[in-house]
Subunit: 726 residues, 2 copies
């Protein structure tokens, strides 16, 4: 350790949960690190195959020969270091086929060894030295030692392959840019198994991500066992999906439509929390209030503020009207719930949602209005401010901190609250300028339910294209903030909202590889980031993940390749939407089992454009169309959906020439499609239209529900011309 | 009116008080105007002598001969137009010596006339046409007609002079960029007479400024008669100034120290409000809460939260500890006061201060803490949020809107509150991003108690130099705001805090000419602004103001000229401060009557540097020193003042060579100065120090009070050398 050219100052420990900025490492530590690395790395050699990129590396001469004789040594009686040694051994065994022995205490000098040492870098920071005689990882922090081990594993697996490997000598000093490097998993809209959640956490840990925000409650489901309120999961954890297919899918036992869902028992949660802690991931549970509460209110209607409370969790998406009321009994309920939540989750932060609470029910409820008068609160927004501040105070009395979506800034931000900035960077800017901490969770870039490619096979999700490079290039710290204000930006987090991510496999594919780009933004000093270098290291990383059996989305090309102009068939994803008001890549609701079609559609205006279609010789158009339930709660916006009256009762697919106000050149009646819940192929002649034209395709209809959608469209030659042997 | 090349869209009236952005002219109106003018004005001829610059002018051929035969015609039975005609006639009489007749209805066609017409431009917008046969002003808005008349007056007075004048034909279309163009007058720290306030309003109106924020209450004084609470002015309007000079200035009648102060009776206020309304200036009264309340609490101690309430208004400056308590009776008092305030001031906005409320008293008061528990409010910042929101709700119930300093954003901004952004632009950024309106009142640029020049004769004030050009160049709309967010920026306002502005004459000199730069930022389209052009028009404007007998500060040179290096005497203002922690240009507290010395001093570190003084041949140093009462409430910061122990009991002025840690080359004992309340000249030999050196001068002392200050320093030749005839 003597040859190091410079030493990072890592004397301030990043205590867990001390990664909370002001109470952990002084934020200037990160700032200083980023500056230092920028200077020290100038002209460095090719980066080590570590992802996220390390802060500082200094190549040396020679190499270390790692083979099956190597042992992994951890200090005697150091349980955390020994666990990390075991974790490293397991990773090497699974990916490199090297089964290394873990030894406690100093190894024999004759034996080549990976040595875990306790030493100067603290918290999440670590030093790593590769010399011909061994590999040493040093940190006084448990997390630092763990991250050093992950880096060592990555050094040993630069490419797929098994058996011994030479690791080039190097000296690494590494520490994260941000203390909060998170993913949010929405287990409320669609449920994932405990085993999946654990595998997901494991994967995060390998990318040095350290916070899992766990979205456990919402209108569509309550996923956490609360001992005092069993109906939360008895009632709140189950629902019948929207649409006729699900309604027709009867449960043999009950004779009623089959319900989907599930919840986590407290035993399961304790196990998952321990699993995460062993991997230095903190779980931040999210219990939504005062809105996004339909599942809870369905379970205990006395909690609600509606004249007619809901009797089941919702199977719709969007913003629902139901809020908790403000009775003292309701606060008693919330405090009881949070008390059980705090007992399960030892981390400092508790997320209370706070987003998208429309105030209609509060305005209409005499009891809420009376309470407002008692409290001298003149306005429902201020009431929400009071509500959130009160919960924040309750959490603070128990040594926890409240975090919420950036709406908590409105109507009065709770003292000491941390803000999760989802509406771009605005929340972070406002929070920091008001002296509050913030985490950047900005949509659209950090909303990983957005599509990452325009491929028709891309998993369902929101329609916006957010590529790997978009995520990589996004700088989360707003340039307008002063140096002091920047210290309030705790870090970054990407969201996996699961309305349209129905399966665990799809969670994996939507999360990765984009989470690796996020991880590098969250960990590596900003000047260290380099897209080309990242993609090279990404290759190595995806190789490792493949070896571990993990799924990930197709790594999209840097510049998306559009469909070939000559193609005669286009999927909805290969066409342009006429508008992108609420563009979604939706999955069909049928069949209940087996693969379903996916449609890219603007639910506010289902209309597609095939640009520059060569119609010469085309005489027929074939369209595969589907229908989707309109299960979107969009409030008054529903009146903004324009319905064009149909010629026949079930409606038609109209094809117009050149633009959406152009002449109709084909008309495909929907009658044959009304009988099927899945995709139906329709066919119609196309008026002879030689030359290249844009085609605009949309539906006539009388109702918003169902949403008629195009699956794919084929332009076929004129049957007569074909017959004539053209 | 037919030859106009383009017409400004002025169909949206700027109703008073409809200048409130969202409820008056749509802000896009201003935006569109700015853009349009930028295009249309490209390549226009020299600007008309109107200040602020008009939005759009199109020179035409010929000119209008204005002489004593000209009449001013206003529509029959149009009281507002007739009043404006009279106002114009008076201005022309006073500045040009032309006594024009005002006629009601259309003038005889043979008589040359200035015609006020009702027509298309609405609100504050107007059209103005100069043709050989007459001058026409057109607006459907009373304010627009008034501003057109002011512009006509300025066209007629391009330079000092009397009698007839030819006005070049032109077509003008004009409308303001912002609806809020304000000055804040602090009548609490030092009182101004009603006559002065009216003259000040008149002057604002001539610059098309339209809002006077009137700071009527503070720790040092309560200036507004409240019928229900007479002690507010009996007790709260009077104080003994700080320092021994004032303490020794006994009132013959009472035998006690003479008190200064005053207040406005409700009759006087009604007259001032009417005077302002006739000039289209809205007065926004400011009643400070929950802090800056010592004068009120001294009058009614039951309003306070202190164990030992104050018994008189403060004669200190700074941030005082006293807050209103949160008893229902106190809210009753505040609502009573605001009810009388609303009866006096008909404008939409009521300013409630909200700034600089330190929470120590609330934290210590059991009654406040009990109330917090009752209200489920866990934190004193949140309590202030609730306090302000409650007052905001009360005002809203009476059709008014709350405005407050940007601290109201903390602890929960009241719904619908408008934010006065004083700490730079941050308040405006945060407010706009949260959907609140904001007025940009940014320090230091818009704090006109800052010095405008480094001249020793400059009136007392804060020490920061804010030149006319600094004000002119300041762009108030934060670049980071989106187009939609920008609509929340209602306008601009400059502040005349009066701690150090003791006299009315000084208010005038500190306000003007800088208020004219502010006026142009507030009125003229942004692309229309041009510093050179402004200074040319400013000359004309100052000429008019001189003719009206108004005072204004010396127009500072664009690049301040420093003192001549060869000068052997320097005033404090001609030296450099060693630090600028709290730099002030302070007036001596003595003599009570007659001129007093002024000292530029950092009260946290009274220390001056004479840079590059040529000490060759200097053998003696003479310093005129004064002492000021330390009447600054700076809380714990007082511990940050470093006191260097003196050699003699009263202390010394130390002169050090090269830097403030350099060798002492002269030492001037303060003993002779302790006997005088004004300035004392001290003399001491200076160690022979040939060459050019920085001199660092500071005081040794045992206490922060008094503050010893340098008035001026003279370097004298060595007396012996002089004797030897050198």
């Amino acid at each position: 350790m003597d040859r190091r050219p410079a030493r990072l100052k890592t004397t301030s420990p990043l205590r867990r949960p001390g990664w909370a900025g002001r109470f952990g490492a002084p934020p200037s530590f990160f700032a200083g690190l980023a500056m230092g690395a920028a200077v020290l790395l100038g002209g460095a050699a090719a980066a080590a195959p570590i992802l996220p990129a390390v802060a500082l590396e200094t190549p040396a001469t020679g190499s270390f020969h790692l083979d099956a004789r190597t042992v992994i040594a951890a200090p005697a009686a150091d349980a955390s270091a020994l666990a990390t040694a075991g974790y490293l051994a397991e990773l090497l065994a699974r990916t490199r086929g090297l089964k290394l022995k873990v030894v406690e205490g100093a190894p024999a000098t004759s034996v080549p060894a990976i040595v875990l040492k306790r030493g100067a870098p603290a918290g999440e920071a670590y030093g790593l030295d590769v010399r011909p005689d061994g590999l040493t990882i040093e940190s006084s922090g448990d997390a630092g030692l763990f991250y050093g081990a992950v880096s060592a594993w990555q050094l040993a697996t630069p490419a797929p392959g098994h058996g011994a490997i030479d690791i080039a000598a190097t000296h690494i000093e590494d520490a994260p840019r941000f203390g909060w490097r998170g993913l949010m998993l929405d287990s409320a809209r669609n449920f994932q198994s405990p085993a999946f959640v654990e595998a997901f956490i494991d994967r995060m840990a390998r990318a040095k991500l350290n916070v899992l925000q766990w979205h456990l409650t919402d209108d569509q489901g309550w996923r956490l066992e609360i001992r005092k309120y069993p109906r939360l999961t008895e009632v709140g954890a189950w629902r019948v999906p929207a649409g006729p297919a699900a309604a027709a899918d009867l449960d043999r036992k009950t004779g009623r439509p089959r319900r989907i869902g599930g919840f986590y028992t407290q035993d399961q949660v304790r196990q998952i929390v321990a699993y995460a802690a062993a991997r230095h991931v903190t779980i931040v549970p999210e219990i939504e209030m005062p809105g996004h509460a339909q599942a809870a209110i369905a379970a205990y209607p006395q909690l609600g503020a509606a004249a007619a409370p809901p009797d089941a969790p919702s199977s719709d998406w969007g913003v629902h009207p139901h809020l908790y009321n403000v009775d003292e009994k309701t606060f008693g309920f919330l405090e009881d719930v949070l008390t059980e939540v705090m007992a399960l989750f030892p981390g400092r932060y508790i997320h209370i949602g706070g987003d998208e609470a429309v105030k209609g029910e509060w305005k209409a409820d005499p009891a809420v209005q009376a309470r407002m008068r008692d409290l001298y609160i003149g306005d429902e927004d201020a009431l929400q401010g009071w509500f959130v501040a009160r919960i924040g105070h309750f959490l603070a009395l128990h040594g926890r901190r409240l975090i919420g979506w950036d709406e908590i800034l409105q109507g009065g931000v709770a003292p000491g609250a941390t803000v999760m900035s989802w509406r771009g960077l605005d929340g972070a800017i406002v929070a920091a300028k008001l002296g509050h901490d913030a985490v950047v969770a900005a949509q659209p870039t950090y909303y990983f339910d957005n599509r990452q490619a325009a491929d028709p096979d891309e998993p369902p999700g929101r329609g916006r294209l957010v590529t790997l490079k978009d995520v990589y290039d996004f700088e989360p710290v707003p340039a307008i903030l002063s140096a002091a204000e920047r210290t309030h930006v705790l870090g970054v987090q990407a969201q996996l909202w699961s309305e349209h991510i129905r399966t665990e496999d799809r969670v994996s594919r939507m999360a990765f590889p984009r989470a690796l780009a996020l991880a590098e933004t969250g960990w590596s000093p900003q000047p260290r980031k380099d897209w080309r270098d990242f993609t090279a290291r990404l290759d190595a990383d995806l190789g490792r993940e493949r070896a571990l059996g993990e799924a990930f989305g197709t790594v999209p090309a840097e510049t998306p390749v559009g469909p070939q102009p000559a193609l005669r068939t286009r999927a909805s994803q290969e066409m342009r939407l006429c508008s992108e008001r609420v563009a979604l890549n939706l999955e069909d609701d049928a069949p209940v089992d087996g693969p379903r079609a996916r449609f890219l559609v603007d639910i506010m205006n289902p209309c597609w454009i095939w640009p520059a279609a060569d119609l010469s010789g085309v005489g027929e158009i074939e369209a595969a169309v589907g229908q989707l339930p309109f299960n979107f709660q969009i409030g008054d916006d529903i009146r903004k959906i324009v319905l064009r009256p149909p010629a026949t009762e079930p409606g038609e697919l109209e094809v117009r020439r050149d633009w959406c106000g152009g002449p109709v050149i084909a008309m495909l009646p929907l009658a044959p499609a009304t009988r099927s819940q899945a995709v139906t192929r329709l066919k119609a002649p196309l008026a002879p239209t030689p030359g290249v034209h844009d085609l605009c395709m949309s539906f006539t209809r009388r109702t918003v529900d169902p949403i008629w959608v195009i699956d794919r469209v084929t332009l076929a030659p004129d049957a007569r011309e074909a017959r004539h042997g053209r």
